[in-house]
Structure formats: structure tokens, C-alpha cells
Symmetry: C2
Subunit: 257 residues, 2 copies
């Protein structure tokens, strides 16, 4: 028995998110089916991030166990022959059997993209949120700076969460603009339910001038979802990568969060 | 009666090209319907470039005549309310009644995008062609340089064309790479049927090493479609802009091509 770690990229447009849901097309279901057919055994992947309906990924992580003798590096190429164009495995490597992609400490990076121009550009519509008000990027950058560090992000978490410890660390949160696209890039040790989309929604409100950048300090302190901005649409969000450092991977250093 | 010039952007993925075709969804049909409903009169646009099925546009041009009193600049905003997300009018201005978008001289710019990496990235698949062989960008740039200028592009034209004069001028043809995306950007005074896609297909073959860059000189001289490379897929192609200079527009300086 070997455990294989996959990096998985997908266009979330046509999927009801990552997680298996009876009667719905999900990335997990598509992966399980393709891997099971390829390896001729029942495969059930464990995903690192159960992305929401419509969210995209360039590097989500999933693991599964197999008795197959296919060299681990070849699995990505072989399974891609059986996957649709909107889900492709980027790499496959063997890892210790104890490795669990949600329990081992990691750094996750997401990007949230905003198309900021007068009129919607159709070829950008699937991977950005369209905002026609001219956003103040400097104000968004200032607001972002207050969110970096270890904080209780309760105000930036959907009330639907079942998590009770809402303290997380954001290592970096950058807002940049290139032509008509504003990109919010965030790296942290973990993200609460809808946290990146609520951060994006809040920064968009700051960019519009709905409230001053400093107001996000009070949002953090208040620990109340009603204080932060709206949840920005899913389609602007892409999970870029999940990094496990090798030491954690070998020592099986479980993250209590 | 006024003549209105529109700049039209669209995602060609779900369209059978620009031109009206009974029983098929086309950009022209969608525009005619939305404009007719908005202006409460029968509208029939005349397009500058009848892009093929699957080709995208950021700035195709179309004109139509109207008796409506809506200020010309407001038409774009108003018609966008009635257009789907994958077709949006970027601007609308009044122009002389004599202006015909295919007869007045213009400069057209297209981009052809190639995703050049080991494994397909789903979020890029709709607007690029995926090539997993590592392409030699320098060789592609050299090959491109031989195509710049006034030439008989018969070898770079679909045999299905009805055009007899196959001389065209390419003002610039640049190949650049940024991360995994190779962009071929070409500006000319007009393009033959499939010309940009055949240029792209030929440059891809050069990039693969199938033949040396110098070979495109012979392709031009031979005036035979069989000499040039294959027609690259439609989805990698985007019509970026069409520029009419004001002098031509006012003097109604008809292009004989």
C-alpha cells in the first residue's frame, strides 16, 4: 500500500465545489471515478481544501492510497487521460502513509481577482468579479495591512462554520493592479469558511470608499460577522498552492487547527 | 437616420462565429436581437470581421443604422442590459452614414495564445491552445520576422477562400513569453481566411523544431497552402482591436481589398 499526493488544478465553473454531494457534479467525484478506473480499485481521495461551488484551483492537494504498481510520478499523466479538460492533475508523488493533507501544517495561498473597468470583458468573466466603480487600490492596500498577522478572524468567517477556534495567521496579503485586473493575494496558515471571500468583499468596499481602511481594525476586534463586508462571489477566487514543509511532512507534525 | 459604430467584445466559446447562420447561435444574431428589442426597430449590424466559430474578440467592430433618439454613447450601456455575459458592447459612437467597417481601410490586431507547459491548466484552456512540447521562442521570433511587410500570403490562406488578391501587409508580428503563456501578436492591414491561425500553426511547428525559421521564406515564395503549417485551433485566437484613422473615416477612403 502506498499513499500518493496529487496537486489538482480545476476550473470550478461547472462544479458544485470539491466535496462529494449525492446528485451533484463535484471535483472529488470526478477524481475518484477517474482514479478508480485507472487503478482498477476503489479510490477515495482526501482533499486538503474543500473549495466551494464555483471556486477554482491551480494547486489543491489530495491524497489517496493504492495497491497499484504504477510509478507514482506516472499517475498524473495516466489519470489526466481520463479526466475532463476542466480538471487536471499537475503532479503525483508518493508520501508517508501517515500524511493527512488537512492535519499536517501547511501554508495556503489564494488569489482573488477583480475586473475593474467600465464594462464587463467577456473573456475575463469566469475568473474575476466585475466591479465597475473605480476602486482605490491604495486604500485597499492599507486595509489589507491591518489583517496581516495572527488575529481572531471571527468577523471574517461565515456564521455557518462549525469551527470554534477562529484564530488564524495571515503571512502576507497583497493587493496589486495590472491593467484592469486587481489581484488580492493572500497566504496564511489556514482559512476559515468563506474567509478569503469575506476579506475580498471587505477590501472591495474599502476600495469603493464605503468605509475608511482603518475600519477593518475594528472589524477584527469586534469578532462579529456583521461588522465585515459582504462575501465576494466564488468565481473570483482561485486556490493557488498549498505548501507543506518537508520537516512537517516527515515528522507528521499535526496542526491542532 | 444615424449610423452607430460599436466595439464588441465576446467569448467565442459558445458561438458558431460572428456571422448569421440559420439554426445556429452567432454573435451577430445575438446583437441584432438585443439592439432590435432596445431600439424597437429592426436592426441588422454589419460586422468588420466575421470571426470563425470559437474565436474571441475584445474589440470587433460593427455598425448599424437607427432612427432612435437614444444618445449614441448610451447605446452600449443600454444594450448590455439585454446581452448575455459572453457578449458585451464596449463603446458606441455615431459615425458618418457612408462608413462601412469592411470597406474603409483599417489596421487589425489579433493575439494568438499558447499555453506551453507540461500539463494543461484548466483555467487557461478556453483562451489558449495547449502545447506540451517546450517551444523555442527565439526560433519562433526569427520565423515571425520574415512574415513582416507586404507579401503574397497565399500559402497562409485557407483554400476555401473566395478572395483572389492575396497580398497583405503585416506591420508587426511579435512573439513573447510570460510564464507559461506564449503570445503571438500581429497587426496588419487585413487578414485572409484563417491567416492568423495558419501563421500561429506554422510558428508552433518552428517552435517545436519541425523545420528551421528560414523555411517560412520559402513558404511565402511558394504561394501554396500545402507549404505552410497547420491551422491552429480557433480558441487560442482573440481579435484585439480594429483601428480606422479619422482621415480615412471622413474621406471615405475605400480600401480596394
Amino acid at each position: 500500500m502506498r499513499r500518493i499526493k496529487l496537486e489538482v488544478a480545476y476550473d470550478g465553473t461547472n462544479y458544485c465545489g470539491w466535496q462529494l454531494q449525492s446528485g451533484h457534479l463535484t471535483v472529488e467525484a470526478v477524481l475518484n471515478k477517474a482514479l478508480s478506473e485507472l487503478l482498477k480499485e476503489e479510490v477515495a481521495v482526501i482533499g486538503a481544501s474543500r473549495t466551494d461551488s464555483g471556486v477554482h484551483a491551480k494547486g489543491n492537494v489530495a491524497v489517496f492510497d493504492t495497491n497499484s504498481l504504477i510509478p507514482s510520478e506516472k499517475i498524473s499523466y495516466a489519470v489526466n487521460q481520463r479526466l475532463p479538460e476542466d480538471v487536471k492533475v499537475q503532479s503525483s508523488v508518493e508520501i508517508p502513509l501517515e500524511f493527512h493533507p488537512r492535519r499536517v501544517k501547511s501554508k495556503k495561498t489564494y488569489e482573488y481577482c477583480i475586473l475593474n473597468r467600465n464594462i464587463l470583458l467577456p473573456t475575463e468573466r469566469l475568473y474575476t468579479t466585475f466591479i465597475y466603480n473605480d476602486l482605490d487600490v491604495k486604500a485597499m492596500q492599507e486595509a489589507a495591512s491591518y489583517l496581516v498577522g495572527e488575529h481572531d478572524f471571527k468577523s471574517f468567517c461565515s456564521v455557518k462554520t462549525q469551527v470554534t477556534d477562529t484564530v488564524r495567521t495571515i503571512y502576507s496579503l497583497e493587493v496589486s493592479k495590472k491593467k484592469d485586473i486587481i489581484t488580492i493575494r493572500v497566504t496564511g496558515n489556514g482559512f476559515l469558511y468563506n474567509m478569503v471571500r469575506i476579506i475580498a468583499g471587505t477590501l472591495i468596499e474599502v476600495g469603493r470608499g464605503a468605509y475608511p481602511p482603518q475600519k477593518v481594525k475594528g472589524m477584527l476586534e469586534g469578532c462579529d460577522r456583521n461588522l465585515a463586508g459582504p462575501t465576494a462571489p466564488a468565481k473570483g477566487l482561485t486556490l493557488i498552492k498549498i505548501e507543506y514543509d518537508e520537516e512537517n511532512l516527515l515528522n507528521n507534525n499535526y496542526d491542532i487547527k
